[in-house]
């Protein structure tokens, strides 16, 4: 709550500075004639307001991160801390319980040992809260005053404000790079820690997956970290079963909508497909687990496969394919629409039927775009999490039987990180290694697909 106060202070003082500076600039305008002003009063106001809010908000951000550490330090320096267990889980539990009570998130503690820490926490929190408010106010006042004193009638406030705005714009666009870098750095860092414990060769080429989060973290059994069954499950569900459903249905839907359907049908069906694309994946997952998987199991039983399990790769793959249909359809739609109509008209004028034109002219011409769309669809399917978590099962089977349970990379990431294992255990860290593989594969697919699409567009423009 205290950080929100800091931001509110920064914004409030900024507003005050804005008003004060504008009043001063107005008075300049009254004294001198308007023509001699180098900038309009509003820009003087913005100049002061930016000088107040930006340093104050920067400080508030840093303080939000630093303050909890300072609070913890001062609590640990108090007398009660001597009785704390040295390290480990209990120490953490006591401290976090006391903190929850002190900040009002909980009403009482389970562990009586935490009672001693409530007061120190409360005290330290309020002390550092006040210090934070004071420093924010001082920074805002100091910077604001310095800026305010620089205001003159001939002060070029506008160019300075615009330079700042430009800088902020640049920073905003750098967030994308920063995010990419953040993903890459955190994945690489944790993956290296994982490979320090488990041999990368065993991980990439081993065929048995069965990490035990409760085993001794010091000496992990490398042979339990073979990820091939996961890769196979991911490819089998996402790139084979789902695509067998999605490619024909998506492509035919796109062809029918663009070439055959009358505008009225199109006006209704296109939004319906968009709704299909907008349904959250957790809903698909629920649908797969509750409706599709039992139906498939019963069907398999009636045909005579008595070993069919209630969680099957087929159920997850089918539902995932349905989820991908609108995606494939819209990509195919775009690339077919990009084919110059002269090619289509030429074919029709030669006497070819519509379907012949589509099969022999439009689709071959649009093929690069369609292939790129399919690649994007695959990258989407293999990164899909909720459907497989809810319907595909946890057993890492290396099999070609779609009726068996199969697990995927994303399923294991969720399983490893939501389990009970500690953060330093190789089983937990394996999630990051799996995430890194997933990231690289989807990145590669997207990169190639986007290049193909670009080439393809250029070819017809």
């Amino acid at each position: 709550m205290s950080s929100i106060t800091l931001f509110l202070i920064a914004i409030g003082l900024g507003l005050a500075g804005w008003l004060a500076a504008r009043a001063k600039a107005w008075s300049f305008q009254q004294e001198t004639s308007a023509k001699q002003m180098a900038a309009r009063p509003n820009y003087h106001a913005w100049y002061v307001a930016l000088w107040i809010t930006i340093p104050a908000i920067l400080f508030a951000l840093v303080w939000t991160i630093v303050a909890p550490q300072l609070v913890l330090q001062s609590v640990l320096a108090s007398e009660a801390a001597a009785s704390l267990p040295e390290f480990g889980f209990q120490r953490q539990a006591i401290l976090s319980e006391a903190q929850a009570v002190a900040s009002g998130n909980a009403s009482s503690v389970f562990n009586p040992a935490a009672n001693d820490f409530i007061e120190p926490f409360r005290e330290a929190t309020s002390r550092y809260g006040l210090i934070g408010i004071a420093i924010t106010a001082i920074i805002a006042f100091g910077c604001g005053l310095a800026a305010f004193l620089r205001l003159r009638p001939d002060f070029t406030a506008r160019t300075r404000v615009e330079r700042t705005v430009m800088f902020i714009l640049l920073l905003a666009s750098l967030v994308a790079i920063l995010t990419t870098f953040g993903i890459f750095a955190s994945l690489v860092f944790e993956t290296f820690r994982f490979f320090g414990m488990v041999n990368p060769i065993d991980f990439l080429f081993g065929t048995f997956w069965g990490p035990d989060p409760m085993s001794n973290a010091e000496n992990p059994d490398s042979s339990r970290y073979g990820a091939i069954p996961l890769f196979w499950g991911t490819i089998y569900i996402g790139a084979i079963i789902a695509m067998i459903v999605a490619i024909p249905l998506g492509l035919m839907s796109a062809i029918y909508l663009t070439q055959y359907a009358n505008p009225k049908v199109r006006a209704w069906v296109k939004p319906a497909l968009e709704i299909l694309a907008g349904v959250p994946t957790v809903v698909y997952g629920y649908f797969a687990a509750l409706t599709v998987a039992p139906a498939i199991r019963d069907l398999a039983f009636s045909v005579g496969f008595t070993n069919a399990s209630s969680e099957s790769a087929l159920a997850a793959g089918l539902v995932m394919g349905v989820m991908i249909i609108p995606f494939v359809s819209s990509m195919a739609d775009d690339s077919i629409a990009a084919v110059p109509s002269a090619m289509r008209d030429g074919s029709l004028a030669m006497g070819a039927t519509t379907s012949e034109t589509i099969r022999k002219v439009l689709v071959p011409a649009a093929l690069p775009g369609i292939v790129a769309g399919v690649m994007l669809a695959i990258s989407r399917a293999i990164g899909e999490t909720m459907i497989v978590v809810m319907a595909a099962g946890a057993a890492a089977n290396l099999t070609g039987n779609p009726l068996e349970a199969m697990t995927t990379v994303t399923f294991q990431i969720v399983a490893m990180l939501t389990g009970e294992g500690s953060f330093d255990h190789p089983a937990t860290l394996s999630a990051f290694a799996l995430g890194f593989v997933l990231f690289l594969v989807t990145l590669g697919l997207n990169f190639v697909a986007l290049r193909v699409v670009k080439r393809f567009r250029e070819a017809y423009e």
Partner: protein, 416 residues
């Protein structure tokens, strides 16, 4: 010239033509069936959710007449308006009073199947309407989950018999459960509600919007209006395009490794969830924002520049207001996607059992899709219907947002 055999007369040609037309019809039929299949799946999905979900908005309730004043519980309007009114009623033994009244009207067997938390419903009814305490009033109280299953002809045979008997007596019935929209998570499907998760979702979405919208719009403006064409700009563009296609679970890993490392105290808080989803939503806003900005004709910029506006003024006074409807449409679509997102929030620990609605951006919370996921894992049959009801709520919100986006697009879209 005169003795050319017109090919249409040839039998072989007619045969070939017939074959080609048949192929044409088959092809068209294949396209049509693809469409019918896709739309059919959509209709099946929505209708099965609605069908299941409607009973999720209801719950089995037992009608129990209780005279609170006669039972010796002192209530006055002043006491009941205090924040501690529920504790006060509990201390006076309201639970026993309810149980006793239930035994009298339903018999031992029936009263045993009254939910153990039923007195809380009585308490909140009393607080909402203190005059109920002064006379005998029939409260509709939640039955136990087992009895609710019995009412649906599921579960143990004894309870099915009991449920039939109580139903024919007119004391057991399925009633619309308003409380479903007001309560939070619980272990008993009869007592769960969606409000805690919904509030968590709203708080998370506020954080996401506050972060992703300004950054996304500013980045789009920079890239479209000012960025010089060089290597750096290319890197930014490539990374935005790639971020838009990175699987959402990877963002969860980022949130886990970076945000939770920076703010270890805010585990499973809407703040962290919102920040993670903001990184995911931002590329969507940038891409749609750039398209909207690109659609503003250059003559607007030239006109503003010609009358002496600075480049910043051109963009902020002219281009941005004109592009704003398009940007907003993209933003709403991106937010709708973020609202339905589950996997990254599982990663950062928003899957805890949270029995009270979160009271701030830093309090532990869960969100609607995660709540759906958690309920779908429950073994109790009663949760199946509740899950579908929660899905209906989520889909309604998404429909609302998408409808707003379409409305904005149709209302403000300009073709120059």
């Amino acid at each position: 010239m005169s003795n050319i055999i017109t090919p249409t007369r040839s039998d072989e040609f007619a045969k070939r033509l017939k074959k080609r037309y048949a192929a044409e019809r088959r092809f068209k039929l294949a396209g049509l069936s693809a469409i019918v299949f896709s739309v059919g799946v959509l209709i099946f999905l929505l209708s099965s959710m609605t069908f299941n979900g409607i009973s999720g908005f209801q719950r089995a309730e037992l009608a129990v007449p209780i005279n609170v004043a006669e039972a010796g519980i002192a209530t006055n309007a002043e006491q009941l308006s205090l924040g501690s009114a529920v504790q006060g009623l509990q201390a006076q033994g309201l639970a026993d009073v309810v149980q006793f009244a239930a035994v009298q009207s339903l018999g031992e067997e029936g009263a045993a199947e009254l939910s153990t938390q039923a007195w809380r419903d009585v308490a909140s009814d009393l607080i909402a309407n203190p005059s109920l305490a002064q006379r005998s009033h029939t409260f509709n109280l939640p039955a136990s989950a087992d009895l609710a299953a019995g009412l649906n002809n599921e579960g143990s045979p004894e309870l099915q018999v009991l449920a039939d008997r109580l139903e024919s007596d007119g004391v057991l019935s399925e009633n619309f459960d308003f409380g479903f929209l007001q309560r939070s998570d619980a272990t008993d499907p009869q007592l769960v509600g969606i409000w805690g998760a919904l509030k968590g979702s709203i708080l998370t979405m506020i954080v996401t919007l506050l972060m992703a919208f300004p950054i996304g719009v500013l980045a789009a403006l920079y890239l479209e209006e000012y960025a010089p064409k060089n290597r750096w700009t290319d890197v930014i563009e490539v990374s935005i395009n790639n971020l838009a296609a990175v699987p959402s679970i990877i963002f969860g890993l980022l949130g886990l490794a970076v945000f939770l490392w920076l703010f270890p105290n805010f585990r499973s808080a809407p703040l962290i969830g919102g920040m993670t989803l903001a990184l995911m939503t931002m590329p969507v806003i940038v891409i749609s924002g750039r398209n909207a900005i690109k659609a503003v004709p250059p003559s607007i910029r030239d006109g503003a520049l010609a009358v002496g506006a600075s480049p910043i003024q051109v963009v902020f006074h002219h281009v941005l207001p004109l592009a704003l409807p398009g940007i907003l449409t993209g933003t709403i679509i991106g937010m709708a996607r973020a609202l339905g997102e589950t996997a990254p929030l599982l990663m950062i620990g928003m899957r805890a059992f949270v029995a009270t609605p979160p009271d701030g951006f830093t309090a532990p919370a869960t969100v609607l899709p995660v709540q759906i996921f958690l309920w779908s894992d429950e073994i109790d049959r009663g949760f199946v219907e509740r899950t579908s009801a929660a899905i209906i709520v989520l889909l309604l919100f998404l429909l609302l947002m998408n409808g707003l986006a379409i409305y904005l697009r149709n209302k403000f879209e300009k073709t120059w």
